[in-house]
């Protein structure tokens, strides 16, 4: 469509715009520019477009230190898992030393004692296979194993806390590889290393959990007086004010409410809600899109009271709201927003509810129309 010579094409122009041409190329390019108005137009079009790309706001970078800590923990967890797997794979070759190291921690000691004899044959078979794989490999593994185990054996007592401020969201990778996405104004407490039998964390606020599967070691989240126990699944817990809700996205979870001493088995798509004032857990089908909107920087409201809507917006934008009258708080609304522009959200709310919203000094004043 353009009378490009073989070498001046869009990518060539992009390089020219970046000042990334060799002297000969540069000379050629200048000549090409001077050839016609059309060439110059094409160049300025592409240049303007590239400027527009460059100016499109980049989001702020994630905290490097936090990310680095997450990475280290993941790598450590990964190595420990590998060390454990190696233990199971070649028990005979090193069982005595392994026993000594594991005993103080009581890792499956009973299991090892009772199963030991019945597994002898299996061990022998394993050994043959391992031996055929190569003795040198085995020796090497054995010599390095002690070092790798030391980090695993260190007792876990230190607790880590991750907190989000207003308007902030964070992803945390736990030592077992599970992921937790913290919504704004939330807090997660977890041990630096998980215990031998359980994976316990405590949540305040809201988070989405993607739990690494491990049937032997249940993962439990305590939030308010609701305890949620899983082995490997994805779910969202929201604990704001008096209300706690658990929504299951994948797999199944068990939820205990200590006050009622009841267990709720929740499956994919189930929502358990618990209100401290009513004290009656309720299980129903959830609108997943509604509960997970926050993960994609969206707000979703479903017959939500205006006061709760404004609570969400306050948390996200770090602002305050002021209602002219209490009756306004109880109007309910349904809607789905991207959370990028406060103005946009406010104008939609004011249009749909036919109320007046004024934004001044980081405060939203809500008045009747």
């Amino acid at each position: 469509m353009f009378k490009f010579s073989k070498t001046v094409d869009y990518q060539f122009i992009a390089r020219a715009h970046n000042n990334d041409l060799s002297p000969e190329e540069k000379e050629f390019f200048e000549q090409w520019l001077s050839e016609s108005e059309k060439n110059r137009e094409t160049y300025s079009e592409i240049a303007l477009l590239l400027d527009k790309f460059d100016l499109s706001q980049n989001p702020s970078l994630p905290d490097k230190n936090i990310q680095w800590q997450n990475i280290r923990q993941r790598v450590l967890a990964e190595r420990n898992t590998q060390a454990l797997l190696n233990l199971e794979r070649e028990p005979k070759a090193s069982s005595s030393s392994v026993f000594k190291i594991l005993h103080p921690l009581e890792i499956q000691t009973d299991y090892w004692r009772t199963v030991y004899t019945s597994k002898m044959l299996h061990f022998a078979l394993t050994l043959i296979v391992v031996a055929s794989v190569g003795l040198s490999f085995l020796i090497e593994q054995h010599s390095t194993k002690k070092n790798r185990l030391v980090s695993f054996v260190e007792p876990a007592t230190k607790y880590l806390e991750v907190k989000t401020n207003r308007g902030e969201k964070l992803s945390v990778t736990l030592p077992d590889g599970s992921k937790v996405h913290l919504n704004t104004l939330s807090k997660l407490t977890y041990p630096e290393t998980f215990g031998e039998r359980t994976r316990d964390v405590v949540l305040e606020g809201e988070a989405y959990f993607s739990v690494a599967s491990n049937k032997e070691k249940p993962f439990s989240v305590k939030s308010g007086n609701v305890l949620t126990v899983v082995t490997g699944t994805e779910f969202d817990i929201k604990n704001r004010g008096e209300r706690i809700s658990v929504v299951v996205v994948k797999g199944s979870v068990n939820t205990f409410s200590p006050t009622k001493e009841e267990v709720f088995k929740l499956k994919k798509g189930d929502l358990l809600s618990f209100d401290n004032r009513i004290r009656m857990p309720k299980v129903q089908k959830a609108n997943l899109r509604h509960y997970l909107a926050w993960r994609n920087d969206k707000f979703s409201f479903e017959h939500t009271r205006l006061s709760d809507v404004m609570d969400e917006i306050e948390r996200y934008y770090n602002i305050k709201t002021s209602f002219q009258s209490d009756s306004l708080k109880n109007i309910t609304m349904t809607g789905f927003f991207g959370s990028d522009s406060l103005n946009k959200i406010l104008s939609v709310i004011s249009l749909t509810l036919d109320i007046k919203l004024k934004y001044e000094n980081r405060t939203i004043f809500i008045n009747k129309n």
């Binding site: 477009l49 990310q67 992803s171 946009k344 939609v348």
Partner: protein, 192 residues
């Protein structure tokens, strides 16, 4: 005559400083790994952010890529570019992620909301542009998309891109050309 591939550029991907850093990384020097991560995190994150169009997913994948990189160090050749290797991992993770995930909100819905609201014009203009820009990026064929993003948002040279993608310099140029042609066609209305 101008197709002379700049051999000089290819060599400059690995300078002495980097070679030293790589050999420290290779010997599992944790401070070297940290140094490498800190220096490369912005490029990695911006590539993944534009690729997935989600801050959160990009954050996750930034970490995930580096974990995978770290665990693979034993198998790396210190003469090859670790940077390229890391971005190869990142690209694979991004491809998988995009194939798996379904956007929570469709474009039209967002559009209607935008039209409904009567806020500041320039803001709307800009969010329309961003929307269309992201849409346009997403319609690019994968190789084209990665090439474009690495070039514009991670500041990779064409020869670095050719290492990540495992293609020739000429292919990178072709892909870049194609990407710009598509983007120009789709976004020309924003240029006055």
């Amino acid at each position: 005559m101008l197709e002379r591939e700049t051999q000089k550029e290819v060599e400059s991907n690995l300078n002495e400083e980097l070679i030293e850093l790589y050999s420290r990384i290779k010997s599992k020097d944790e401070s070297a790994l940290q140094e490498f991560f800190f220096s490369i995190q912005p490029q990695l994150f911006y590539y993944l952010f534009r690729y997935t169009n989600s801050r959160e997913i990009a954050e996750d994948l930034t970490q995930e890529s580096f974990v995978k990189f770290w665990l693979a160090i034993d198998n790396l050749d210190p003469r090859q570019s670790f940077k390229a290797y890391l971005f190869k991992i990142a690209r694979n993770l991004a491809i998988n992620q995009v194939q798996r995930s379904m956007p929570l909100v469709s474009f039209d819905e967002e559009n209607i909301l935008l039209q409904l609201s009567k806020s500041i014009d320039s803001e709307i203009d800009n969010s329309f542009f961003m929307n269309d820009f992201q849409q346009a990026i997403n319609t690019l064929p994968e190789r084209c998309k990665s090439t474009f993003l690495l070039s514009r948002f991670s500041g990779f040279s064409y020869s670095e891109i050719s290492e990540v993608m495992g293609v020739s310099l000429q292919t990178v140029k072709n892909q870049m050309n194609k990407a710009l042609a598509v983007l120009r066609k789709r976004l020309i209305k924003y240029i006055d």
